[in-house]
Symmetry: C2
Subunit: 203 residues, 2 copies
DNA sequence: ACCTGAACACCGTTCAAGT
DNA sequence: ACCTGAACACCGTTCAAGT
């Protein structure tokens, strides 16, 4: 069992890291996080193997929260509206937290905790997508894995103008959503990603 | 007028930087670029104010090449096909060059050379979009500025799986293109970006 | 006028010394 | 068992000394 001060320092570090990462993104320094937590720089490496593992810990929490939002939306009456709210929640999380997008690209998929959280999110996305597809609101050739990848589309498209037009992601979320509707569906040139593709992506 | 060895070193640096950036992305070290060019580290700072300006120089060349592609496609018979080829060319450039996406986000928009190249690209995109819109192939509420922002959408959506599925961006390019068609068009919640938004985005 | 390489301030990470 | 801060190898950048 952990020593009392160690458990406290770990909690302080996670809290400080979450705050600094959301404000300044992935390139915030370890020194800054340690200072905010009130511990020495070296203490960070007593609790986490390196910066990447610390970032992964925060990233997991956010993935879990987003998955929970998706699971709750499965009980929403309108399958299309449920999917829209799920993707909106993901975009709002990314606007709120600068590091979330960056972590999704940078964090290692070999980390078991990240994989577990990703899988849970994928299951929620697949269930929401299946419901919307079966109801005819979403085109037949789109999968839950597609939706997972599309979660960061709107904010990334709008990112270059995020400084001057902070709400622009809403425009591109709706443009992407229109692409998911059956009305304009044309054949897609390559197969959807599989679970295997996600686990095999070394990065 | 520049000294002979200075002009030669500048050319060598740009060539080395372009190669290293396309292979390793923005986080390649100045030391590595200088070594590849066969000059001392300090020489880089005789020709460029810093790493950002060196990256901007490479970025400008690529923006110019893409703009030229767009201008040539204005003479294509089919307006929709011209737009598709323009967006495909942009995606292929991003797959070929790891640094291009990153530079678009990181490079300062205050640099006059970057601004000039961006404006040229924006004009080409606007002309291609107007033609496709007037022909009825593209929905009425989409602008050339939208298309500029959408140029990196497909590759960024597919980025997490680029290692295992290098052609996946084609799927999302077509999904985004389906969103641009009039058939599935629903009202977009916020106004398109303006030229002012692009110049005001401080980064 | 330009090139060079030592020097500086930073970063993430390691580790011997403490408690 | 954990915390600490000095030390290390890196990075981008500066600049005095050369030619």
């Amino acid at each position: 069992m952990p020593r009392a001060d160690a458990a406290r320092n770990r909690a302080l570090l996670i809290e400080a890291a979450a705050a600094e990462l959301s404000e300044h993104g992935l390139d915030v320094s370890i020194a800054r996080i340690a200072a905010r937590a009130g511990v020495a720089k070296g203490t960070v490496f007593n609790h986490f193997a390196g910066k990447e593992e610390l970032v992964a810990a925060i990233f997991c929490e956010q993935l879990g929260a987003l998955a929970a939002t998706g699971e709750a939306l499965l009980h929403h009456a309108d399958p299309w509206e449920a999917l829209v709210r799920f993707m909106t929640a993901a975009a709002e999380l990314q606007v709120r937290d600068r590091s979330f997008c960056e972590a999704g690209a940078a964090t290692s998929r070999t980390d078991p905790a990240v994989r577990a959280a990703s899988d849970r999110l994928a299951r929620a996305a697949e269930a929401l997508t299946a419901r919307a597809r079966d109801s005819g609101a979403v085109r037949a050739d789109v999968t839950g894995h597609d939706v997972v990848l599309l979660l960061s589309a709107a904010t990334q498209i709008a990112a270059p103008l995020a400084g001057s037009r902070s709400d622009l992601w809403r425009r591109y979320l709706h443009l992407v959503l229109d692409g998911l509707r059956p009305a304009a569906a044309h054949d897609l040139p390559v197969a959807p990603p599989t679970h295997r593709d996600f686990t095999a992506a070394a990065g």
